[in-house]
């Protein structure tokens, strides 16, 4: 019975995913190795780790953009509607702000008559309603990323994938964008999976932080954060979590994983 309840509350479950890449004729390299974690429905999960640990690969596998070498992604719903925000504003430069959104709505099968209305709603949610005629090249970096977020949430996805969406904007803009995402999360109940290398960001936003180690990417630790939102940035309780996380990230992740593994083995032997 309890097992089933977990099933029902789960949005996606990543189970033992391994992905190998082969570049030209060189021997293949392992990007991620037997990665498993769960994202609960209406949860906010962050994947954190150093650059090149395969976090983005995991996200692309979940989005269905690449196939894992082994392992699987178990989705609660057979095809949950997904949207993704990329690191470098992948809004289409040849469409103006409004068209960027109506195009996505058309892909989602929204009838033509509703598209403009829904798109304007999404634009005003991110404060871009006065810029609907502007092309991305005419917007600032932060505005472009807001447009990307508006585009992603306009179709009301069940699962929102964010691939380091705030990495290329300045600090102040980043905090504003984080609050925007948080607001969307709290008001719509969308499930969010965020990839980041910023510990503060992960702690400020998420329910659960999954820590990755480097090449090949492995899950070193999962940390649940039991704090109410909105959280104070840099409050003492967050700092405690931060110390714990930093510890996991600074120590050699592989060593950690091995230690965990060997202790598990010991347990098994003892049993």
């Amino acid at each position: 019975m309890p097992l089933e309840r977990v099933e029902a509350g789960s949005m996606i479950r990543v189970e033992g995913i391994t992905k190998d890449f082969r570049i030209a004729d060189r021997k293949s390299t392992r990007a991620v190795e037997s990665v498993s974690f769960e994202v609960r429905k209406s949860g906010f999960v962050s994947l954190i780790g150093p650059t090149g640990c395969g976090k983005t690969t995991i996200l692309e596998i979940i989005a269905g953009l690449t196939e894992p070498t082994s392992g699987s992604v178990i989705k609660n719903n057979s095809r949950p509607s997904m949207a993704m925000v990329f690191q470098d504003y992948a809004v289409f430069p040849w469409m103006n702000a409004l068209r960027n959104i109506t195009y996505v709505l058309s892909l989602k099968g929204v009838p033509k008559s509703d598209r403009i209305h829904l798109a304007m709603e999404a634009l005003s949610k991110v404060g871009l309603e006065d810029f609907k005629e502007y092309f991305p090249s005419q917007l600032s970096g932060g505005m472009r990323q807001r447009l990307a977020i508006a585009r992603a949430v306009s179709a009301r996805p069940q699962l929102l994938l964010l691939d380091e969406p705030f990495a290329s904007v300045d600090g102040l803009t980043r905090e504003k964008l984080q609050d925007l995402i948080l607001d969307i999360f709290l008001t719509t109940g969308t499930t969010i999976l965020l990839v980041t290398h910023d510990i503060d960001e992960a702690l400020y936003l998420s329910d659960k932080v999954v820590v990755f180690s480097e090449s090949p990417g492995k899950v070193v630790h999962e940390l649940e954060i039991h704090l109410d939102r909105p959280r104070q940035r840099h409050c003492t309780s967050l700092n405690d979590y931060k110390k714990e996380l930093t510890g996991y990230m600074q120590n050699d992740g592989v060593e950690h994983a091995l230690r965990a593994h060997s202790s598990k083995l010991c347990c098994e032997v003892l049993q």
Partner: protein, 276 residues
């Protein structure tokens, strides 16, 4: 009726703004500062009798040759012939090279089958086709169209192919995550991503096509600017030759400006932020 009127006005306005766009870059005070002394120099130097004036005509000699050709030698007819066949060849190559380039750039399977064919044919210099084309097509109009077509096909095809193939992966992926079909991505992502490069390649096609048009017209046809050029040479009329060269240059420039204007009007997103 009302709508039609408005439409007419739009077309007229479009033409006016095209001329402003194209000639606007030439008819400027800054350029006048450069061109007027150059023309004066051209006018004065041949009069110093360093060379025979027959070999080195002045600007006014060329201008009067232009007038003479216009009034007595059917210059407009030659221009019309050249432009007509040039445009047929160019349009044929645009409507074949662009779709083939898009298809092969988009579909890796098709690319594997057909790309080598084009890779083998492309490096053959268009001028090397002249003798064989002469045998099969004779010296008439098909030769001109064929050579213009052939020479402009490859730059347009190859650049379109490359631009489609090099579409930024992020754009393709983001459309795919939102559930776009591959055909939808081709139309809404690949095509627009490549549009600037496609228009640019047509400009390259124009310049290479003009080279081959001139070459084709030098072979025994009796009409067109290339013919007039060779014909003038036979009568040693250097001013006439200069006029032909200038007219050919003008045609190339004018057609290029049309493409540039199209790019400005279609690719609105390339106009970045302007200061108010």
């Amino acid at each position: 009726m009302h709508a039609k009127n408005k439409n007419d006005k739009n077309i007229a306005g479009e033409i006016v703004s095209f001329f402003r766009f194209s000639f606007g870059t030439i008819i400027t005070g800054q350029f006048a500062v450069v061109i007027i002394p150059l023309l004066l120099l051209w006018e004065v130097v041949p009069r110093l009798h360093l060379f025979s004036r027959n070999l080195f005509p002045t600007f006014s000699d060329c201008a009067s040759a232009f007038e003479h050709l216009l009034l007595h030698s059917n210059l407009m007819g030659h221009i019309g012939l050249s432009v007509f066949f040039f445009l047929i060849g160019l349009i044929l190559s645009v409507i074949t090279a662009v779709p083939i380039g898009i298809l092969l750039g988009w579909n890796p399977a098709l690319r594997k089958y057909f790309m080598p064919v084009f890779q083998i044919l492309a490096p053959i210099p268009p001028t090397a086709w002249v003798p064989i084309a002469l045998i099969f097509l004779g010296v008439g109009f098909p030769l001109r169209v064929f050579l213009v077509y052939l020479s402009s096909f490859f730059p347009i095809f190859l650049n379109t192919f490359q631009a489609i193939k090099d579409t930024d992966r992020r754009y393709v992926l983001s459309a795919r995550v939102f559930g776009a079909s591959e055909l939808n991505i081709l139309i809404h992502v690949h095509f627009y991503h490549a549009l600037g490069a496609i228009l640019m390649s047509i400009r390259t096609g124009i310049s290479i096509g003009l080279i081959m048009l001139t070459a084709a017209e030098m072979y025994g046809v009796n009409g067109g600017l290339g013919f007039l050029l060779v014909h003038s040479k036979e009568f040693f009329r250097i001013p006439d030759m200069v006029v032909c060269m200038a007219v050919l240059g003008f045609i190339g420039w004018f057609l290029t400006e049309i493409i540039k204007y199209l790019e400005k009007r279609i690719c609105l997103w390339k106009e970045s932020r302007q200061e108010a």
